[in-house]
């Protein structure tokens, strides 16, 4: 069964991506996590995302288009990327999510994919 691990990162996490002192640890942890998922044969997809200020949100209402700079919701933690994994059950998905670096600094959400 496929699950998506949504990674919510704090502002501090996003800054760590480019901070000279912290970026090696940040990217190292994600590279290692991705390697562990791949080598265990459970990873089926995913991508890191640019910070939320790079996002553009769009709404169409009554034939009118509203375009807005930034994320659709202004929350303390923002979507920073996602992994898609294929594992037998939710317990296994959660045990992988617990190893995601963001689990100890931001939050990770595990959602079962709808089969299409």
């Amino acid at each position: 069964m496929k699950y998506t691990i949504l990674i919510y990162e704090s502002d501090t996490d996003f800054k760590a991506r480019t901070d000279e002192a912290r970026k090696a640890a940040y990217w190292g942890a994600y590279r290692a996590y991705t390697t562990a998922l791949r080598e265990a044969g459970v990873m089926t997809g995913g991508a890191p995302l640019q910070p939320s200020h790079a996002g553009t949100t769009l709404r169409q209402r009554d034939g009118k288009r509203h375009v807005q700079d930034g994320p659709y919701a202004d929350t303390k933690e923002q979507l920073g990327g996602f992994y898609e994994i294929d594992v037998p059950d939710l317990d296994t998905a959660l045990s992988w999510a617990a190893r995601c670096p963001a689990a100890s600094s931001g939050a990770v959400e595990v959602r079962p994919n709808l089969p299409m």
């Binding site: 190292g28 590279r31 562990a36 670096p101 100890s104 600094s105």
Partner: protein, 407 residues
Amino acid sequence: MSAAHDAAALAARGAYGRLVAWLAARWRDVAAAEDALGDALLAALETWPRDGVPDRPEAWLYAAARRRLLDAARRAGVRAGAAADLRIAMDETAGAPQTIFPDERLKLLFVCAHPAIDETVRTPLMLQAVLGLDAARIAAAFVVAPATMGQRLVRAKAKIRDAGIRFEVPEARELPDRVEAVLDAVYAAYGTGWEDVAGADPRRRGLAEEAIFLGRLIARLLPDEPEALGLLALMLHCEARRAARRDAAGRYVPLSEQDTARWSRPMLEEAERSLEAAAAHAAPGRFQLEAAIQSAHAQRALTGHTDWDAIALLYEWLLRLAPTLGARVGHAAALAEARGAVPALAVLDEISHGDVASYQPYWALRGHLLAALGRGADARDAYTRAIGLSEDPAARDFLRARADAAG
């Protein structure tokens, strides 16, 4: 208000498991017993501040819970005859305020770890029925969704009731297997807290204290079972080192580099006493051997060095009884110290790769051994796997430093 509240809370902590066990053993329904006791505790919080705390809070709670159970049975339309039978069963031993409740928790523990109960739910069931922990806390410790954990507990209790699982201490013939199931379930509770050493996040703090409470309880209720003492010794040895597993800056400290002055002496002493009492039975088992391995590590506090040959031998003995992945990796780690990285790596190479795809200690040790052999690139790859499998940021930092040092 607060005195009554404290009295109720105190009675709840000390007596919860005893009361649930006592009620459930007579009513043969764990969920109903818990609900009734929960109602009784609420009633206590309402009436005790007004009327004062009763002399024997446990007896009061028992009587109130019993009334709830009988009311619920009447409402559910239990046949008149059956209700009468139940009432008689419940009244046999109730009433007299001097009654000392026989401790039925052992029976409850055996019910929770019954072979008919799914293995993954035995520990959660025990924690809830005997200690009164809520499903959300248990779910967090086991990294399971709270709603899922709640459903599993409800299903397991329904199974106990509907399948008529008996509240009894098993016969001698089946006792060893049944005891092992109980001990495994307690050890699983201890294991939930192991990785989260720092205990910074209370939701992830694990259940170490609860497991040790159960370990002491079982060792007392089963005085002729050396493995129960072995398990208690094992958990206490590990717990004694909790404070030493991080340095002042919160960095991970491996066992061989821990400051022994930060190990808890009272816990080590209790662990050693338990292990000695177990050894007096001259019936070694898996938990006793694991405790003996930890006891050998603890000797460093007295002698200043670690006898790795002895530890490697204990692991070989343990592997004959319980060839778990953890024991195989532990054996390899001891071999590395006793005889070098080459034989240790040979032991690791014998383990199938499928088994270790998500087992962090294997990759951490593999990285360590490859680094010792000067195989820097291979060491870094292994460390990377270990980092990716770590939940704990401190462990990640430690392994990254090791990987960088591997060249």
